[in-house]
Amino acid sequence: MSQLLQGDDKKKTDEGLKLSDDLLEALAKFQQIELQDFEMDVKDLEIIFEPGMAGQIMPKLKLPAAITGGKPTSMLQVPFIPPVETYPNKITEVKLGGTKSDGGTRGRTLTIGGEVSPAFYTFERPMPHKPVITLDVFDMEVPLSKAVKMHVKEVVGDPAAWAKLAVEKFDADMVTVHLISIDPLLKDATPKEAVKTVEKVLQAVDVPLVIGGCGDPVKDADVFQAICEAFPNERFLISSITRDMDVERCAKYVKKNGHAALSFTPMDLNLARELNRRLYDFLDREDIVMDLTTAALGYGLDYAFTNMERARIGGLMGDMELAHPMSSGTTNAWAAREAWLKMSAEWEPRELRGPLWEVTTALTLLLAGVDLFMMMHPAAVKTLKDVTNYLTSGKKAESSKYANWVTVKA
């Protein structure tokens, strides 16, 4: 392992937006679409029209007059015109972490979101920010798979040491402090104790933090309040605000103390819109990241992927309520038994299968548009970082080098 560590879909475009014939002609010339005065009814937004529809007016590739009958004797030349589109809306940018000048103590801030094209459509335009990875740190012992445990066993139970390991050894951009111990059904730790845990982590590392609760809507609200007030302007991402919490109360203390909220909903875009609308009464758009729920590879990843891809496209096409950066609890990949289970010899070793399960889940959602990944295994983190670096490098492929795969003696 160590080596690994190095709208109603029937609606047509002509209903969704009015493109005059003149505009179509103009577009045909420039292969670009500038949507001004763009209007759409987002009341019941299924995707009303898809990016790329304007590509329908790409000029038809015509056969050169040179050959009309018989077989060609020399290569025919036709152009390929990149189907580049413009989208009416931009995904909101959200800043995480507060530095000294913000009134916080973090060494730097991170910005996510800001996309003006679908994920990594760099043939259209570059990604404004690289996706960010935050590593999970738990404040008490939790069941961990063997493949993960081997990397963190020294620090389990010591969230500050765990955070340090995550940042210094595993290159985490951020750290998520999961306050599991506050769960009334587990240790029922007090808000005061939770504040102490966060303080220790703040002292151990200088990256921006995500603050995770236990899932109890009442207890989380209390603990989050104590933490938001104890550390104003650290610009934490509070994970998460859910529909069954006192949304108004939570949003108010998040806003008042200069933090950001993670708006979490269970795989339903209408619920996501609804919760965001409630948050808008108290928070600015720039304070909201959304978590649409991540299911593991093999256990509903298809739903998560499609939900996120639709949300991102919807956001770019003008659905403001979905035009927020997206976060994924990619660690959920480990809920798949194939990630951790000892299987028959042909599928082993699980020490490789497990982290590959996590990174496959991550990369799938990367391509759907996720901006913030909450992750677990160092090898999966390393690969996701490598891939996002590759994809944003702007460098051209060494195509001749890889073109000879046919004869490579592997």
Partner: protein
């Protein structure tokens, strides 16, 4: 938009189809009337060839029109013959939420003509026997890519012959040398392999071979889409109909160009109706082995696997792989299954009591969530182990156990309600419920509210058989 092209099927309404049908409501197709048939056609649930009157001479024109209307944005290309022949492409849409993706990405494992014969046999058999049971589906590999590394026509011919003798999996014959390609084709002349590849220098000879052996062919132009569609255009003009596009797969910083090329081609095909882009796409994750150097094999397999998975998401219709380890192939095959499921399939199953085997009044009672994947996983574990048991499916709004508990979708109240509603109390004489290990947090509350004794079961349903032996007593 002035002219209707073969873009996504959503643009078709049942009326468009109905207009071209015989409209005699003969029911020969098994549907109640022509309109019902038209609706099924639009939803791709039935083929127009199942309408007998439509196949008659007098309806020839309507039939041809329908064929054209229903033509997918990406042409379907068939590789191989017989039961294991593989359909590539045939895609109707770009995005998964628009319509179910057709023809799951075919995965090929390579052999070379310089591998020892035994190794070739082992790799082919390994590919042939690869099989993983996943919620009622068997995941498999699909093809064998035979690469010529020797530059020796006889060796290639012998290797192709060997492979064709030991497997019915379709082949991809990989060599840029037409003479060697022909030797390979001669070894398996009727097997309709995919010929790899026609490029700017060999296209003419390769086109001749494709015509002579009536086999599909790959057009290859690394990282150059204008040249790629030009080759495709030239092959078409030459009379070749079944073409696959290889825009190149590149490692490291080249991944950006790789994804861009696949995405641009698919968008031009599905949204722009471009015929030359509307062809199946080939990805080659095995380029990871090109600059292997001293890198450990496992790490190269890891890279190959993640590239394969990204290309499954970004529109590849066929992939060529070298690493054939179970751990490295499994995630991609499961991802492929996920991505190619019907997106309209509900996330949740109906709550209620499910019966497994022939349980009696002493049989164990379990509960699980109504998230489809959780339910099917538990159900398949009970089924395959031939257990006699009751399973109460609790309404969790489609949440899994752990996220359901965390998000208060799976609560003690709901469990207690479900127990009561299920009628289980009249079916068993004990009052013990085995709950998922991941729901242990709410065990006390369940006991309180339901009056049933709670036994905390395993965290994963694969351990149920062992658990029952060790812990179950009615």
């Amino acid at each position: 938009m002035s002219e209707k092209k073969k873009a996504g099927l959503k643009e078709l309404s049942p009326i468009d189809i109905y207009k071209l049908l015989p409209k005699i409501n003969c029911k020969e197709c098994g549907q109640d009337n022509c309109m019902a048939f038209a609706t099924k056609i639009v939803n791709r649930e039935i083929n127009i060839d199942t309408c007998p009157p439509l196949l008659k001479k007098e309806n020839e024109k309507a039939y041809a029109k329908l064929k054209d209307l229903l033509k997918p944005a990406v042409k379907e290309v068939i590789v191989g013959v017989g039961d294991r022949a593989k359909k590539l492409g045939g895609k109707l849409v770009m995005y998964r939420h628009e319509f179910t993706y057709t023809n799951p990405t075919a995965m090929a494992i390579d052999v070379t003509d310089e591998m020892p014969a035994q190794e070739v046999v082992t790799r082919v058999q390994h590919a042939e026997n690869f099989s993983f049971e996943y919620i009622g589906n068997t995941l498999r590999l699909d093809m064998i890519a035979v690469r010529c590394t020797s530059e020796d026509a006889d060796k290639f011919k012998a290797c192709v012959k060997k492979v064709s003798e030991i497997t019915t999996l379709p082949m991809i014959l990989c060599t840029l040398n037409p003479a060697i390609a022909e030797a390979g084709l001669m070894a398996a002349p009727k097997s309709r392999p995919l010929l790899y590849a026609a490029n700017t220098s060999n296209w003419k000879d390769m086109a001749e071979l494709a015509l002579m052996y009536s086999c599909p062919i790959v057009a290859s132009a690394p990282n150059d889409l204008t040249t790629l569609v030009s080759i495709a255009k030239t092959l078409m003009a030459y009379g070749v109909t079944d073409i696959v596009l290889d825009p190149g797969t590149f490692m490291n910083e080249g991944l950006g160009d790789t994804l861009n090329n696949f995405t641009m081609l698919r968008r031009a095909a599905t949204k722009g109706g471009e015929e030359l882009a509307g062809l199946p796409l080939m990805g080659v994750p095995m380029v990871a082995w090109v600059d292997k150097g001293d890198t450990a094999d496992d790490l190269v397999k890891w890279r190959e696997a993640y590239i394969a998975s990204m290309l499954v998401v970004r529109y590849a219709d066929v992939l060529v792989m070298h690493g054939d380890s179970g751990w490295s192939l499994l995630p991609t095959t499961v991802l492929r299954q996920n991505i190619y499921t019907d997106p309209r399939k509900p996330v949740a199953v109906a709550p209620g009591l499910k019966v497994f085997g022939t349980p009696d009044e002493n049989s164990p009672v379990f509960f699980t969530s109504n998230f489809a994947l959780t339910y099917y996983t538990v159900a398949s574990d009970l089924d395959t182990n031939k257990l006699n048991a009751y399973l109460i499916v609790v309404e969790t709004e489609g949440s899994a156990i752990d996220s359901g508990v965390a998000g208060r979708k799976l609560t003690a109240e709901r469990v207690a309600d479900a127990i009561k509603q299920s009628g289980i109390e009249s079916k068993v004489k004990h009052r013990k419920i085995i709950i998922p290990g991941k729901a242990s947090r709410i065990s006390g509350e369940i006991e309180e509210l339901s009056g049933w004794k709670v036994q905390v079961g395993p965290r994963d349903s694969s351990e149920i058989p062992k658990y029952l032996i060790e812990k179950w007593q009615p």
